[in-house]
């Protein structure tokens, strides 16, 4: 997928954006934005400034990531507050459409179209003349490495191919801002790496790349900034390097072990010296362990599983848990409350 990293339509935009910086603010600004679906809270009182580079929205299912992205791209209107995108208010559908390319989480397409028809057709909807739309469509399809499949019906595409043809449409008109809702979903590790490389290339050229994920470590190495969101509230935002430093230096690894008798497991676990904390999870169905030596701990855990009758359902890093991330971000003590 080398075409993805190659020179492309975004290249010289950086120069252009350099000259326009004085005219329009080079940021996406949320001020006091709330979105309600009837009675249901989407996001609440969001204040955010997003700058060029890769920004990751991280939060569990239903936390409001898609809502935020739909708001930035004008698919939803805020119930309260204002959003401006490079100085453009979000009710200017035309101005917003030029600046934003959005690859949504929705995995559906107009029926009966080939990949090429899809990209070409919507470029034409935007008013691109026929010849230019054709050139742009092919350029975008090449960039996502889908040339061979371009003349086949989208209905026959794999999940990863559908993801990529959506991405091709999102970048086809050369927007400054790229919004991608869970772009890594359905991609194999190779494709993920290529996708990540593309994001980094775009960011290096001065683009805004906004991606979402419910797994922090899927995006942490990639991101210039992370926005942690939960239950519709932005819990924290900041540069990922600070966050990561804090996590590495001050905080031992947190692990959540789901098992039937967490109390019993805790007694076994405490026998190992590298464990500095082990407490039963609030729901009584798991054990939260903090350890300075994760490799050692996992070996020990294997032994425990073998030598006792404990049923261990799952072992997950507790730092996937947004609460844990939040504590790291705000520099808390790491205590579970």
């Amino acid at each position: 997928m080398s075409a993805l990293n190659g020179r492309n339509g975004y290249d010289s935009e950086t120069e252009a954006s350099g000259t326009m910086a004085t005219e329009a603010p080079d940021t996406i600004v949320f001020s006091n934005v709330s979105k309600f679906y009837g009675e249901i809270l989407g996001v609440n009182r969001v204040n955010l400034v997003i700058r060029p580079g890769i920004t990751s929205l991280v939060g569990p299912n239903g936390s409001g990531k898609t809502t935020l992205m739909n708001l930035v791209s004008g698919l939803l209107r805020p119930s309260r507050g204002t959003i401006t995108v490079l100085g453009v208010p979000v009710d200017d559908a035309e101005g917003l459409g030029r600046r934003v390319g959005y690859c949504t989480q929705v995995d559906s397409f107009p029926p009966g179209m080939t990949g090429y028809d899809f990209v070409y057709g919507f470029l034409r909807v935007g008013g691109c003349p026929a010849a230019e739309a054709a050139t742009r469509a092919w350029a975008a399809i090449e960039r996502v490495d889908l040339v061979d499949a371009a003349k086949r019906k989208v209905a026959g595409y794999s999940k990863g191919m559908r993801q990529r043809i959506k991405l091709a449409l999102a970048i086809s008109h050369g927007p400054r801002i790229l919004v991608l809702d869970e772009p890594m979903n359905g991609l194999d590790p190779m494709a993920r790496a290529e996708m990540a490389a593309l994001f980094q290339a775009l960011a290096a050229e001065g683009h805004f790349v906004i991606i979402s994920s419910h797994i922090l470590h899927e995006v942490d190495t990639l991101s210039d900034a992370v926005v942690v969101i939960n239950h519709g509230y932005v819990l924290a935002e900041g540069g990922i390097s600070n966050v990561r430093d804090a996590m590495d230096a001050e905080h031992p690894l947190g692990i959540l072990i789901r098992c039937d008798k967490p109390g019993q497991l805790a007694r076994h676990v405490f026998g190992h010296e590298h464990v500095i904390e082990a407490r039963v999870h609030d729901d009584g169905l798991g054990l939260l362990v903090r350890t300075r030596d994760s490799d050692g701990f996992f070996r020990a855990l294997g032994e425990i599983a073998l030598t006792t009758d404990l049923v261990i359902d799952s072992v997950t890093p507790a730092d996937d848990d947004v609460e844990a991330v939040y504590r790291y971000l705000i520099g808390g003590s790491g205590e579970t409350t």
């Binding site: 339509g9 326009m20 390319g101 009966g112 919507f122 935007g126 008013g127 230019e132 927007p175």
Partner: protein, 308 residues
Amino acid sequence: MNGAAIATGADTAAGDGRAAGGIGPDGFASTGGAALWGRQVGGIVRLELGKVLFSRRALIGWGLAAAPVLLLGTRMLAILLFGGLDEAGRLPTIIEEEQVYAQVYQTLIMRLCLYFGCAAIFLGLIRGEVNDRALHYYLLAPLKREVLIAGKFVGGLVGAFTLFSLSTLLTRLLMLAFAPADAARAMFSAPWLTHTLMYLGITFLACLGYGAVFLAVGVARVNPIIPTLILFGLESVNIFLPAVLKQLSVVYYLTSLCPVPLDLGPIAIVATPVAAPVAILGLIALAGALLAWSMRRSRRLEVDYGEE
């Protein structure tokens, strides 16, 4: 504000020309105004025609357009096969056929086929996209919502008129089958030709009027079944409606334009037609008002495919 925004948009995308094979600056912004809107409407019509004419959903439209052709075709065959209208084998004259056609047109084509055909086509413009979960592709395209709605409407109109002008034309041609010897003469002499053109005009106005109604219902994002049936009921009893409501009924204008009035018998007194120019202008005004409302309303259009 807007002007500045567009200008920076052009700047922002100015570099794309190179990737796009050196085709100059951003194709979206280089020519603003009417030319751009024209291309955008054209782009939407392109996609829309595919759906209205050549998709699975198009079968409803084709079926409704074919129904009157099949009905009149069957009748014609029956009369020819069973040897005419009476024992003497008399075939209907073209004047008699005009009366039969008026019946078929006003009751079947105008009130049923066009009504439900336009309902299917124009409700599909927004609602169909929601069902396909594809509306967001349109909402994300760099164009004004007003232009989007206009493009969708034009697309529906071209599609619906293609289907139903074909239907009107074919049913009109079937009339001539009874007068094979005279067909050529009848065809180019009044009233057949003028009536045919008038019916085509009415078909167009029907697509325009009903189309605007159903586009508005679609944009309002309400469940369309109830409004569709209520409107159908109102249009059906249209001649009994009070004068004010009549003016808001599409059928009222269309009936007034029909070249051959139906023999309504005793209820004919309540059916007061309006003059043709009034009818045409009334219909255009009605459609224009609904279209304007749809455009305004579309600014608030949000994606909502239900909870994911």
